[in-house]
Point group: D2
Chain length 340, copies 4
């Protein structure tokens, strides 16, 4: 195979971003995109040169020319689509989380495994050059045995109430990225979590049964301990930092600014706020995760981010939610699960 033909399911913000990234890659062709609300999508699809737009994602799964699909539809549809696609022999890129239920995720993963197709979960941050270098630095032993993992992850502003309602809550919607990052840089599974979560940003979160500010303490199988701090509102931009401290040193990835320009005046020294949000901050990472997925299919390379990574992050999110509810540390219930 020299060129891959793909279909995209879901033409919302994230689906369109993937499509626009893909059109600059000569080795991929987007044949079809599906969305329930097809009218908006048609004009956009035409502009970027995608010919087929459908309301029925089955059209994509049934098309023998299509090698792989991108699932960018709402989370509650992921599990079902993964199973159908796997059975249709399509390789799958699925946005995170795989599902809101670890049972459903495990089901989907079993089907994927049986079908022998590739499944990449959209933990885009693993492809960020800064965080990737942190991962590699740890892996190469440059900081010795990891002792302390620290992740800061704060959004620039809260999502709308409508989104919060169906988001799965802070643990499944937002912190799940950080749970994956923690596993990625620590090089170890999480065995226990303790959460201190509060409502400080906006009362709407409390009204909807959610929180907006949280600390998650992680205990890893390799003995290391970790902390993740989350907030739904950092007025200075998208705050995304990672640090791993170990027996021989410490590695840190700092925030990125739109420019590095500093202006010094009689009032002090000023520089830009942080890059605004994920589309700006992880622009390159989104591009790279797509390249890696295609590369994995074309050249049969191992995936950086597999179905099991999706499952593990969900298991942590589930335990975190429980810890928050009961106010005590919770062990991860990790049954034996063959890595896909």
């Amino acid at each position: 195979m020299e060129k891959i033909t793909i279909g995209i399911i879901g033409a919302g913000r994230i689906g369109r971003m993937h499509a626009e990234n893909i059109i600059s890659i000569p080795s991929i062709k987007i044949k079809t995109i599906s969305d329930l609300f097809v009218e908006n999508a048609i004009k956009w699809a035409e502009q970027i040169g995608i010919q087929n737009v459908t309301t029925n994602y089955q059209d994509i799964l049934n098309d023998p020319e299509i090698d792989a699909i991108f699932i960018c539809s709402p989370t509650n549809t992921h599990g079902e689509i993964i199973k159908e696609a796997a059975r249709a022999g399509k390789h799958i890129f699925c946005e995170k989380p795989v599902s809101f239920s670890t049972e459903e995720t495990k089901d989907a993963l079993e089907v994927v495994k049986e079908a022998g197709v590739k499944l990449q979960v959209g933990f885009n941050r693993r492809f960020d050059p800064h965080f990737k270098k942190v991962h590699e630095t740890v892996k190469e032993g440059k900081i010795g045995d990891p002792h302390i993992i620290k992740i800061t992850s704060r959004d620039p502003e809260p999502p709308p109430a409508e989104y919060i309602k169906n988001s799965g809550g802070l643990f499944f919607d937002m912190a799940i990225h950080d749970y994956d990052m923690a596993r990625y840089v620590a090089g170890s599974e999480v065995e226990e979590v303790y959460v201190q979560g509060v409502n400080l940003v906006d009362p709407i979160f409390k009204e909807l049964g959610d929180i907006d500010t949280a600390m998650t303490i992680l205990k890893f199988e390799n003995g290391a301990i970790g902390i993740i701090d989350n907030s739904r509102k950092a007025v200075y931009g998208y705050d995304q930092r990672v640090e791993v401290f170990g027996s021989k040193g410490c590695v840190t990835a700092q925030n990125e600014h739109p420019t590095n320009v500093e202006i010094s005046t009689a009032d002090g020294v000023y520089k830009d706020k942080l890059k605004y949000f994920f589309l700006e901050r992880y622009k390159e990472a989104y591009m790279l995760e797509t390249h890696a997925f295609i590369d994995s299919i074309l050249n049969d390379k191992p995936l950086v981010c597999k179905g099991n990574d999706g499952l593990q992050a969900e298991l942590i999110a589930k335990a975190a939610k429980e810890s928050h509810e009961f106010g005590k540390p919770v062990k991860i219930k990790r049954e034996k699960f063959l890595k896909v």
Copy 2:
């Protein structure tokens, strides 16, 4: 009063450092220094121009010329000396912690209160210009309501086994500084703690019933949550950082290096490790805390760091120890206590 005459109890490392700082201040005279092991101290005292050296600290307390004392003796002697000194009408600077027992500390504070003398506890970091600016930035409302407090506090190398034995453990010896810093920058009392503590640096800690690596989650009365991460061994130097994140912004104090020089070669960009340890990192803070103590006596200004601050940090350390032992969050038992 234009000039103050002081005595120093304890001529160990910290006692000598205070003495050497004080001799450069024209408004203070060190009259006497006491130490059980007087021989070593005599030569040193002579060199820096202190005339009297005694093995009996009572000589200092009984000297009517002496206005104030610095208590730099082992922690288990602090409580008793504070009470005697207060009754003798001396103003008191006492190294942290006031004691290993909150009962003993409360006793001492009562006596101080009755005697009407000043008691400053040696939380030197409050006088560090970087952390002081963090405190002021929060106090002035520049970052809005505090939501998340983060403190990193890692020593460059573990103390000797002999020291560990009598140190009171990580919570009372090391993290107590951070508990005070947390209260100082958050502008609020801590009401609950949860600790995840482990032994990763050296088995000697476990053998002596101590830990060397810890996370403490703090819940503050003002709703904010905090995290302190401690390690007994950061090979790259004394890692001391503070961050307060709030509704309107974030303020951070970074580490200090001996120089800011960067060397760029074909291998990368290199700069100095961090300042080695507390004597280097907090050199200026140690000087400034002495100035502030003297200024408070001479000009009757309020103390930056009072007896109650010592007590509150000890209450947190006690709860942290309990949380570590029982593996669950612990509420601070804060009885009404008049601020001294």
Copy 3:
């Protein structure tokens, strides 16, 4: 006009880079690319979807479907092609410098002016977000009147001898970018230059009548003074910095690193070398200059970087060369020339 059809003259490194950038822009179509050595180009062109490859650039100029051209051929062909293209009514993007002779450049600019076509000169650094912000900061008056302009511009390694021979020398090949940058950030014309140039990197430069290390002092019409330091070999990467100091402050743009990751060990703190060279450092700028050119054609917006900008930089380079030869300051001979 909603979509632009272009031709590219020259399929060397820089021509291919432009082509690869352009294919990701939906509003442009590359119809033809020309190169004397067509064999290498054919396979590459096919891969990225360009159908026509020719050895004769006239095929491009004679094609009525083609709206605009990119001139990426050797400098000594620029002047002639610009004139032919202008007379054929094509809009022109021309790599820098326009020519090695200010007479030839002026001739070309006259023809462009008469033909009424657009001519953008490839001073890509104007589109770098960092340097653009410096320019804007000065323009908005945030640092007051400019007093001192400082530009550091050092290549990571010298070009091959064959390239040096035909490069026009350090002033026309390398520093010319910096002369343009100086005008761009100072917001003023240069009226005098003094150069101190030496041969320190490699004797080959001296053998070929060139230098490899230089300082150029600039005196601007607005009273400001400037300094540019150039080297052909910075072993730590492509060193590109700009600073403008004025009556109300100072604005600086620092270097960019592949990642911001810092690794602290017992040996010190390390981070990545600089981005390697212009393709990495100015990746975004090359993209943005193409967008700006297209935007100027489609929406008749003013060009950021015109023919006159090319000419002015060449006048400075010429004076710099003279200053170097005669060891004294040289005034810019700027005859009246209507801005294109």
Copy 4:
């Protein structure tokens, strides 16, 4: 000799600073201070514990108990006092410049040499830990052969007109520090200078025959070239940076801020302006230069900064002044002069 007795000539700002630094050094005693305006000095001297104040500096030179003197009087008195002090057998610390006339300086240095006393010139910046590390990095060969030296040196605000009049002008008063720094970090003598100097900050400079903004290009004997940029007014503080670029790398010393605290808000990221001026920025350097002087006397160690260093910087300043007047490069007239 275990303890040194000194006298200070001149109780102005810089004389008092040295006195206040010295009283914290146990191995030095200040016996006498002289000043023409003795009334102000008496009260101050008493406060810091100096017993003798005189209007006649000869009292200091004639006192057999005094081992060494600090010359902090106006520059036009330096040459005469150095000669008298040397003949009286006193070691000498002299503020920069040694004189405004290189003839006078050479005379003084001859007398010092004959007398066999030590003469340290007050180039305090050599003792700044940041710049010292730059010097050492170059000396150790870590950046290979030096190619380019860059020094930025900008004062936070212009001195009063009265001071400008007697200052010797920008080259002798301000840039002379930078000329010394250039020699110190380049490890080579300067053989030619070219200056571009202008009047941009305040017309008073022009009225008094001075300039306020200047670039000095330096050519060193080892082949390296250098640039110094000076301004009398940087509204954001005392801007003091040094960079040496060489065949194997680059070493830079950046500015220092009162704190490293950063405040991120919806408006951007702010940090403190630079340290205000030389008393803040070089506080530690002033202390260290005194220690080095005393150490040199007590332990017969070589001086870091000798009479010849004063002379060389003056030769550069003289050539710079000439270059500015005649608008062309000027060679340093360096006759053979035995190093003192």
